[in-house]
Symmetry: C2
Subunit: 482 residues, 2 copies
């Protein structure tokens, strides 16, 4: 029995009912052990068949010496995960095809520019009849993470992975490091950002970014897609899919694309065998696909986090780019004003009712500015240090104003003095449905506590003034279809 599949029917990759794990190892130091343990530890709901020629037992399960040894009575095996030396992959694929396995994730590397790898690649294409007999993800990837419920689902990386909140963000990466060392970095720093999938596509011998994107476009649990790509397979399809995702389904796509430069494309060629593309082509694709372009991994994940928070707090689209800056530091406000103007964001003249409301809380010797730069420190002094009342009131006065679409906030955060019930900021955001982007500073322990708190209320924090303005601009442009 051989599989014959339409490209759309790929759910067995992302939410398989049963998996065979080639290269499962009884040595707990080995990646083949960690891979199997990831599957088990995250309560994979389907059947698991570990396979290793040595046989025996593993984690309470029989370790089969080959796929043929798995009894036919267990039924269909949907997916194979292959983590073995490259020379053994072809035979395993033949076994999988014979058994009717629908798809294989090849996590092994060694299919690159070297002669041996090229030969194996050609053999794979031959035995799979150009992937008509079995679909393939990889090689040179770290599998798929599919988080059906908090901490649970299908975790197939060979690198130990922690429990993660389930949510609406999907990550697609041509590089394996997202399902590896960077995974705990992102998820532990952003415990409130729910992830739905992390899909690494590696050398994309068969499945590519478009196949994965097509699946995600139609998966209703996914709202935001963050992609890292080293080459485009089919630019027309990418543009079409991106536009459908955004226009028909209201999804957001953020793209980090390496290989813009000759040095960068040389780097991607040695990394995943990506073909060099001209930077003009890349720019044209990005423009037509209307995705949000990220500048590096930090920016990709910052945008992904911010968009996920905006989605989950049901912020309205940013139809204009008029921003009020509520700032404890006049200097930080001035820097943000400079970047705003440079990037086409307006700090507008305030309407009279808004100015009047502000004037009530400012001291006579320092009235508020006539435009949307709300330097609230004099008002705090005037209120004899009632920081909480003034900072929240300043933000609310700004959010109420018809000429304000969003607020940039700089604030001092302290857990022992200058208390603010910041959950009230979340209430304001939910009420007015306008985004508030925040730059927080204070002592190190305080700032860490602040990061945890702002995660929990789903209000994005930024490292710097420029970063706030840049991120806002990118999201506003996307909302406005620019």
């Amino acid at each position: 029995m051989t599989a014959s599949l339409s490209p759309e029917d790929l759910s067995f990759f992302f939410n398989p009912k049963s998996v065979a794990v080639f290269g499962a190892s009884t040595n707990s130091n080995k990646s083949g052990y960690k891979l199997l343990k990831n599957i088990i530890d995250h309560q994979f709901p389907g059947k698991i068949f570990p396979i290793n020629p040595r046989g025996g037992e593993i984690l309470g399960m029989p370790l089969y010496t080959s796929l043929a040894e798995v009894p036919e009575e267990v039924g269909t095996i949907e997916l194979a995960i292959i983590y073995v030396p490259n020379t053994r992959v072809v035979q395993i694929l033949e076994d999988c095809i014979a058994r009717g396995v629908k798809g294989a994730i090849i996590e092994a590397a060694g299919f690159g520019e070297v002669e041996e790898g090229k030969k194996i690649k050609a053999q794979i294409i031959e035995v799979t009849d150009h992937f008509r007999k079995i679909r393939v993800l990889g090689p040179n990837c770290t599998g798929i993470t599919s988080i059906a419920q908090d901490g649970e689902g299908f975790f197939s990386s060979f690198i130990p992975m922690g429990k993660t909140k389930s949510g609406s963000l999907a990550i697609v990466s041509q590089s394996g490091f997202i399902n590896g060392a960077y995974y705990p970095h992102f998820t532990e720093h952003n415990p409130s950002v729910g992830l739905r999938y992390v899909i690494t596509i590696g050398n994309k011998l068969d499945l590519d970014e478009n196949d994965v994107l097509e699946f995600l476009v139609h998966d209703p649990t996914v709202k935001v897609v963050a992609m890292y790509i080293e080459s485009f397979r089919d630019v027309r399809r990418f543009i079409a899919l991106s536009n459908v995702a955004q226009e028909k389904y209201g999804k957001k796509i953020v793209l980090l694309r390496s290989g813009f430069s000759s040095t960068g494309s040389r780097a991607t060629t040695s990394h995943t065998g990506a073909l060099a593309e001209r930077s003009e082509l890349i720019r044209a694709v990005i423009k037509q696909s209307r995705v949000i372009l990220a500048e590096d991994f930090w920016d990709l994940f910052l945008l992904a986090k911010t968009l996920t928070f905006l989605t989950e707090t049901q912020i309205n689209p940013i139809t204009q780019s008029n921003v009020a800056i509520c700032t404890i530091s006049g200097a930080a406000g001035a820097i943000m004003s400079d970047w705003a103007e440079k990037w086409g964001i307006t700090v507008p003249e305030l309407d009279q009712p808004t100015w009047d409301r502000l004037a009530e809380i400012y001291p006579p010797w320092m009235p508020p500015a006539k435009f949307g730069l709300i330097d609230y420190w004099p008002a705090v002094e005037h209120a004899k240090g009632d920081y909480e009342r003034i900072v929240l009131l300043s933000i609310e006065i700004a959010l109420v104003s018809p000429v304000v679409d969003a607020v940039f906030l700089t604030a001092y955060f302290n857990t022992t003095s200058w208390q603010v019930d910041w959950t009230r900021l979340q209430d304001l955001i939910l009420k007015y449905k306008k985004p508030v982007f925040v730059w927080l500073f204070g002592g190190k322990q305080d700032v860490m506590a602040g990061e945890t708190l702002f995660q929990s209320i789903k209000v994005p924090l930024f490292q710097s003034e420029k970063e706030i303005v840049r991120t806002f601009r990118k999201i506003a442009e996307s909302d406005q279809g620019r």
Copy 2:
């Protein structure tokens, strides 16, 4: 007796022998109390005279009702710190002049665009005879922090300040927030960065950025100067001083300048009364002064930290811009390659001996690239996971190479597995005198531990790939006199 001073003789501001504190308060919630406590807590070595019309006692000292009440026998009072409502400032200055006080730091605000403030400003100029009778810092500032020894010196902000390491970095800021809420942010996140001075100049009624810079240029304890400025007082003098600092004394100056845009300059006008200047003028001044331009406060302090570390580890000037990228993530390496090429940094072809050394540690199925992109993960796999040996060896092979001026490193940091004795990286840097800029990732607790460790070895960490390239480019351009 009135003071008559040359502009150069300003050390009584930065390292005074005696201070009078106007507005010292016995109420521990008030800023006038905190100001005095800062002076005492940081072991100010000189005499202190707290003054408040209410009189009494404060922190074990007599609280004088006026300056006249301080006995003549105590000798000269060098500096007055004035933290009282704006309406009382003129009389206090007259008292100070009568007593022969050399300088006054006016921390009070309320001298801005409002009528009352303008009137007081005019009176100040009159009673001081255009500052011939007494020099003035401020108003609207948070004083001076002068750190003579670790945690000790002259701390005159009205905001509580922690103990800080003494070192070679000086900060000059037109905004008070650097000696306030942002101070713990920077110092607690960067405990290894030694600070010498933090000087806030506020509305610069008398002393301006040039007066302060001139003092810092000639102070041999200062190696790096970070400045935040909202307006230039005298551009010719600024250009001349900057060039002397760099050429004659080998000091580095980083400048953050707000008010580039019309929105930004409107913001600075309402903040410190800065006059609007055309962005073309600002750009011309920056070019001629050859200072390193920072993009926001995050960038200002990142550059300040990095330059301080490079100075203290005695890195050679970066005469070329040839960089090797040692990366655990091929993707991060590709992103850095793109930014490098965009910004004129070369990832060079490797010389044969360097390539040969690398080839020895790479697996046959994945030889090293021919250019300086050292994606070391295959070598780690080939060394059966001996991460420590491979990562340190990769860096050393790169640093030894005659075609490499610096290394960009991306690394996974974990405190329980994948151990690396990172102090050996410091040894390599001290040996080869070439900079290594690092992007570290891993679980949250691990990364925090990594931040502490890399602080202690004075190797700068960065948030993102782009940030590494941007910071390197700025410092290389400065070293090369571009």
